[in-house]
């Protein structure tokens, strides 16, 4: 049995895994880089080991240092989280070779499915539909040739990639080689592997994925779908389950395909099969399998009531999947029960939405923003979950992923879940780093999203940049909250009042100090800086 887990990650996911460990009475070891020496995941862990410089290649991607840290602390298992080394078969192998448990699939599965080129080949062999593409060679000339054959627009993807990193849409043959070089550089930096594959870029697609859980006894189930069509720069920003697109028939066919794909690999532990779906033809195509925990796993947790991270650990411990408990009472038609001719079944209740709060500036082309978090308040309301990798005082560093906080809302219906999320975003406070919170609000307000019709092109289609003022506008009007004006006035008053309240006596001009009406002469009830900041 696993008693101590090293978490080979940082940020919100490291914290989330540590929480699961605590609830299972398992000790935790954090690893950290120079930039993260006082980061939240270090503070939450029972022990923490420094593994190198701030650049990921020198720390969170350094297999040797992470294995050393695990040995030094007598950890008996390693959880890779997502990103970094989570889909690196060499790492999983190194963990196993060191006599430790890797909480995830086998190195074989990671290599086969994590490699986009091989995964495509295997899916084709197993009769799972794939997007037209090219994965048979990696030299520039072959790729360029293949791109012309597939026809532009073409999508360049890192073969070892995931999470939207190192992806390029190329609309024109002239731009191909330059985009290829750029994608390779980004892939090398993010994954340590510069190989790429090509796919026909399917415009107006829906991105829908299925969560898989598989134990060591051949029980393979899916925990329903997640709709992840709201993306910018190929990175998801809002996810929900159930998908507003799927009916029971399509859900069943896609779910069966997902389970069959995982079974064909003898897949073990948690994984996700990603599909794109053409909303007009309702055809679905295998996109890739993520052989790891997914960022958006909480929406599945809230609707199924299962703790996926705890199940990852239990499966690694050799437990059998036994989630065939009696279904909870259900309401409405949003609920369904899945039974896959195995002793295991799961059910889903209600609707959940996740919003990813990124350190980025929507009015600056969603480019990253950095800085110190001066103030953070997480919403506190029924059925809202906040997974945060930062706390007040922490730094949003340019070295790592811009994801700061995930908010997840659960309600009986989709409309109720949207309303709850809007409320949660309204109560969310983060000062010091520019975030996408108001953009998320704008998306939740948008008619296309509310109708459940948004495709992966939604973000680029809904607006145009007004660079002269730095504002972002939706076609339906100002993206900012409708009644922002009174808020701006209130903010202005508050800023000025605080300037005066925080002014040191020494800053007050002499003339003012002699003023018989000056507040500085009186010793009123008010005390500057009195009272602690409260949550």
């Amino acid at each position: 049995m696993v008693k101590k887990i090293l978490i080979a990650n940082r940020g919100e996911i490291a914290v989330r895994i540590m929480r699961a460990c605590r609830e299972m009475n398992i000790a935790t070891v954090a690893v950290y880089s120079d930039a993260d020496r006082a980061a939240l995941h270090v503070r939450v862990a029972d022990e923490a080991i420094h593994i190198g410089a701030s650049s990921p290649r020198e720390s969170y991607l350094n297999i040797e240092k992470i294995i050393d840290a695990a040995k030094k602390t007598n950890a008996d298992a390693v959880h890779p989280g997502y990103g970094f080394l989570a889909e690196n078969a060499e790492f999983a192998q190194a963990v196993n070779d060191a006599g430790l448990v890797f909480i995830g699939p086998s190195p074989f599965s990671i290599r086969a499915m994590g490699d986009k080129a091989e995964a495509r080949t295997r899916m084709i062999a197993n009769g799972v539909p794939v997007v037209p593409g090219f994965q048979d060679a990696d030299d520039d000339a072959s790729l360029e040739n293949a791109a012309r054959k597939i026809g532009f627009p073409v999508l360049i993807k890192a073969a070892a990639g995931g999470g939207g990193k190192a992806m390029r849409v190329v609309n024109d043959a002239h731009d191909f080689l330059e985009a290829l070089a750029s994608a390779r550089r980004e892939a090398l930096n993010a994954f340590g592997d510069a190989r790429v594959i090509l796919e026909k870029y399917v415009a107006n697609a829906r991105h829908i994925e299925f969560q898989i859980l598989a134990d060591k006894f051949g029980n393979t189930i899916h925990l329903f779908e997640r709709e992840c069509s709201i993306q910018r720069r190929h990175q998801k920003i809002i996810e929900e389950t159930p998908s507003p697109l799927l009916d029971e028939d399509l859900r069943e066919r896609m779910g069966n395909a997902a389970v069959a794909a995982a079974r064909a690999m003898n897949y073990e532990n948690a994984g996700t099969i990603e599909f794109i779906v053409d909303p007009d033809t309702r055809e679905f195509y295998f996109l890739e399998m993520n052989t790891r925990l997914q960022v958006e796993h909480p929406i599945t947790e809230l609707t199924t009531g299962l703790d996926i991270v705890q199940w990852q650990i239990r499966i690694a411990n050799g437990e059998e999947l036994a989630v065939n408990s009696e279904p909870l009472p259900v309401s409405g038609n949003q609920s369904s029960v899945i039974s896959l001719q195995s002793p295991v079944s799961a059910h889903q209740r209600g609707h959940a939405i996740e919003c990813r709060i990124y350190a980025e500036d929507p009015s600056n082309n969603f480019l990253p923003s950095t800085g110190r978090v001066l103030d953070l308040e997480l919403p506190n309301m029924p059925s809202v979950r906040a997974d945060s990798g930062i706390a007040t005082g922490d730094e949003a560093s340019a070295f790592y992923d811009p994801l700061l906080v995930k908010l997840i809302a659960h309600a009986e219906t989709r409309d109720a879940a949207i309303a709850k999320m809007q409320n949660a975003l309204r109560e969310f406070v983060l000062l010091g780093v520019t975030t996408n919170v108001e953009f998320l609000q704008a998306v939740l307000e948008h008619e296309t999203f509310r109708e459940g019709k948004a495709t992966t092109r939604f973000v680029e289609e809904i607006g145009d940049w007004r660079l002269e003022t730095g504002d972002w506008r939706l076609e339906t009007g100002d993206w900012r909250l409708e009644t922002r004006d009174w808020r701006l006035e209130t903010a202005l008053i508050a800023a000025a009042v605080v300037e005066l309240l925080e002014k040191k006596v020494s800053d007050v001009p002499v003339s003012s100090a002699n003023d018989p009406y000056s507040p500085w002469r009186t010793n009123g009830a008010f005390r500057v800086g009195g009272g602690a900041a409260s949550g």
């Binding site: 930096n189 975003l425 309204r426 000062l431 660079l467 909250l481 701006l488 008053i493």
Partner: protein, 168 residues
């Protein structure tokens, strides 16, 4: 006492006088009383025109981050503009050929040398932040007259990276 802030491209002016916890404000010629109810930094609760408001306010140099009911504002003390060129001014300074960093991050590559002839849109510098790569391109045809950064260096948003002087 007068406070001048900029918010996006907008200039906001407010006059404020204090007597204990009572303040008198003037915005656009309209006077109104403001009474501080509590200040537990960063939370300020006050009444204004008979209604109670809560805001969270944090200072960051000349910036004032203020959160009011779901909206976050960054107000910049107007006197900050003398420190570093106003951000929008720097971005719009295309005629000058000044090249600024559109985001904070590390310089991953400098693709040109001083003296190189470049065309508008030609990539000059590659920046990376949060695992994302961004090309910074020449704002106009001309000659690279200055390169102020080297590979591996960290830059702030709006930091000047170099200059492309027009041939004409």
């Amino acid at each position: 006492m007068k406070f001048v802030y900029t918010h996006n491209a907008q200039t906001l002016t407010l006059d404020i006088d204090r007597a204990g916890d009572d303040f008198e404000i003037e915005i656009n010629g309209e006077h109104a009383p403001v009474q501080v109810i509590s200040f537990a930094p960063p939370r300020l609760t006050f009444s204004h025109n008979g209604k109670v408001f809560t805001a969270r306010v944090m200072s960051d140099g000349k910036k004032r981050w203020v959160h009011v009911d779901g909206a976050t504002f960054v107000l910049e003390r107007a006197d900050a503009r003398t420190q570093r060129g106003h951000s929008h001014g720097a971005r719009e300074g295309t005629g000058s050929g000044i090249v600024v960093a559109p985001m904070p991050g590390q310089v991953r590559g400098v693709l040109v040398n001083e003296g190189d002839v470049v065309t508008e849109g030609q990539p000059l510098v590659i920046l990376e932040a949060m695992k994302m790569e961004l090309k910074v391109s020449a704002p106009q045809d001309g000659v690279v007259s200055k390169i102020l950064v080297t590979q591996g260096q960290s830059v702030e948003r709006e930091q000047i990276l170099g200059q492309v002087e027009s041939n004409q």
